[in-house]
Symmetry: none
Amino acid sequence: MLTFERHQAILARLNEVKVVKLSELVDVTGASESTIRRDLTDLEQQNKIKRVHGGASLVTRRKDEPSLLEKSTKYAEEKQRIAKEAARLVRDGDTIYIDAGSTTQAMIPFLRDKDIIVVTNGLNIITDLVDANLKTYVLGGYVKTGTRAFVGAGALQSIQSYQFDIAFLGTNGVDEEVGFSTPDPEEALIKQHAIHRSTQTYVLADHTKLGDVTFSKVADLHEAALITSEKANHDMIEQLEKQTTVKVVAGS
Amino acid sequence: MLTFERHQAILARLNEVKVVKLSELVDVTGASESTIRRDLTDLEQQNKIKRVHGGASLVTRRKDEPSLLEKSTKYAEEKQRIAKEAARLVRDGDTIYIDAGSTTQAMIPFLRDKDIIVVTNGLNIITDLVDANLKTYVLGGYVKTGTRAFVGAGALQSIQSYQFDIAFLGTNGVDEEVGFSTPDPEEALIKQHAIHRSTQTYVLADHTKLGDVTFSKVADLHEAALITSEKANHDMIEQLEKQTTVKVVAGS
DNA sequence: TTCAAAATCAATCATTTTCATTCAAAAACA
DNA sequence: TGTTTTTGAATGAAAATGATTGATTTTGAA
């Protein structure tokens, strides 16, 4: 058996089993223990496998987890909990829209490996989606400096091609009277279209957003359900519940 | 047994087994070991097989796209020089298309702060463009795992909206007969449209691509100009010049 | 926990296989 | 005929392999 063939056999077997004992590999390939050891060393140097005592496992091509510091600042605990709750709503077979934004981005780890199609307009979101092994589609358009969301005529045209089971949106303001709002009119426009092309819409907002109003109105409260956290003012939540469904996730 | 026949026999056998022991080949063809070795050397030079210790395997024209990391580190210097030459062609006020790919990506630092509009279908390219302070537009579409290019119906629809002064494309193969080619038909389709929507087209290719043929044809040689480097075989360049404009950038 | 047996490991060496190079014989060619 | 190309055998170098050694790690029983 050729070196190349053996390497293939080893990798194939690892693909099935994730971790295999050395003795099994010896059986499968019919090579001596020494040879297998050398093979494993080779493959490890090629960064294809990770050796463990007695065997080996395939290295997952995922990007390294962001550092803890990054995580804690980027996705505060509250966002994590809200994102997790949102992700629970997604079922295999769904086609969903994930809006640009850090809270919606926090959903992605909870969606890993699901059999879903995801559409997004957020540059930072794309990489995470692909790394999470999800079928990923992107709106085209102009890349906004700052949030790096795709907006404008291109994005508008793109979104018309899709229908979503659920849209998950971020927001900068949730107000009883004004409804959902965001600073940039261009982004607001995309969000509006996402709502209209989707069977259900959930807006993810941590407690700091409640009561705020920003420049561009996205939608009335009744047009989307809201997911927020216990940290929010309870009177505020009661008020909002008159106009929309509110999911409140447990505090820390 | 004729040389040609032997070559065919070898290739046929490789087709079946992917990798064969040299001794087996000797049995099959009835030629001496030396002859087989010479045959294998020939076939490898013709780029038809890849030799490994103890045998050989057929080169596949389909998958086998090197990872992004590999791409970006390999022949970095040469790509830099080619990219710089390409960037020199861009004038203020231009609208250009920059194809997904590591060589085209290398152009971006040389375009910094220019007053141009850039359209791309490469995920990794977007961030660089925005960071280089360029007005950036993105095609939508499906995100290919691997190269992370945007392809498919969405990308196709998006690209129809634009007209370019210059399109800069990468490629995996440049061949006198076949022309420009790339492994993925979906990407090839986008490239074709880019060419047709653009006043001028330049294909950027380091010397390793010349003479190669991959699965999907993108265009004939005369449909685009070529930028490559002095490392390329000079006879090859002469041949190519019969069908297209070739810019050759200085060696290291 | 501690200890000893078992398993696994890296390192080394002798053997086998494969390789490129060389050279002379055979074949093809003109 | 003489010349060129192809072939096969021989050589030593290089690479791959399998067995052995003793060190290290894991396991399981006390």
